[in-house]
Amino acid sequence: MTGMRFLAFSLAALLPCLAAGPDADKGRTMGDPAAPMLFEIYSDFSCPGCKHLHEAVLPAIVLDYVKTGKAYLISREFPLNIPDHKYSRPAAAFAVAAARIGKYQTVSDALFRNQQAWASSGKVWETVAAVLTPEERKKVQALASDPAVLADVQRDVDRGTQSMLTLPRIQTPTLMITYRLRQHPWTQFTDYSLLRGYIDALLKK
């Protein structure tokens, strides 16, 4: 009986690490992997709502929950398969490739900052290259076509599709909060106080 209890406690303690999984590239994570909550942000670099989340809400999330050790954050790629977002997948591949050399934040900041420009012109690489050194450019360009990187993007999409089954529809941005073995999706980012209240309420449970 004690053994079973120990096993259950161990599994619960390991959950964030298990949920993060081996596919969670270090370059796309932030915070303490042993934090009680796991935040997975599914976003598409062409989506305006994702730009808003990245630029206006994410800094507050990081400050309130990631830096304080309450949550472990993973950025997941979710390029939507719609005509208006035809450059989303290459953008995601560049971001994941940049994560391999520790430049995910820099590249994702640039992609969201210049979203309108490259989403209409298709100049994704030019946007990414502008924030990298010549050495980094070579590495990222090579990695972006690496089957392992492309598979990483697809794995995120598959994982997100599975997680979003509980939502009325598949959408970006979605913040998947895993806490005490349960997943809590959140899609409303117009008012951060609402999200903060929700997370705090979950933590009090």
């Binding site: 009325p168 529809r169 899609t187 609402l194 309420a201």
Partner: protein
């Protein structure tokens, strides 16, 4: 002992009143059992009220639903409660139609979070509306009739 028609009618009214009351009680309970922010997010997704109204409604409506449920089950203030429930349900169904016509795939927010608006929610809420209108009609008809 055969039941008279009016007795069957009276029993039907009681059964429907209690069933509708339980429905409202359950809807309120489900919303109160999860963080109110979830319901506020569901209301905000309809995009018909500003966020501060969504927050206010998320705080108050579940308690109001519980109160209405209890009143229906107890059979107190029958005319007032059935009239309010009918108006509320009419408003809810109207909101769902508005969302569906506007192409919004959102949560209904009726019985807790995470239930998308679908034919199922229309049938359920539509049936509740029909029952409440029937009960309201009965309540007001009895008022006009001398006891």
């Amino acid at each position: 002992m055969p039941f008279s028609k009016s007795k069957i009618f009276k029993i039907a009214v009681i059964v429907l009143r209690v069933a509708l009351g339980c429905g409202f009680l359950y809807a309120g309970y489900l919303k109160l059992s999860e963080p109110w922010q979830l319901f506020a997010a569901d209301i905000a997704a309809y995009e018909v009220v500003p966020m501060w109204v969504a927050k206010l409604v998320a705080h108050t409506l579940p308690w109001f639903e519980v109160l209405l449920g209890l009143l229906l089950i107890a059979g107190r203030w029958f005319r007032t409660s059935t009239a309010i429930v009918s108006l509320l349900l009419l408003f809810f169904v109207g909101l769902m139609v508005h969302a569906k016509v506007g192409g919004k795939d959102i949560s209904c927010g009726c019985f807790g979070s995470g239930e998308p608006i679908s034919w199922r929610t229309f049938v359920r809420d539509g049936s509740m509306l029909a029952v409440s209108l029937f009960l309201a009609a009965m309540a007001f008809r009895n008022r006009r009739k001398p006891a």
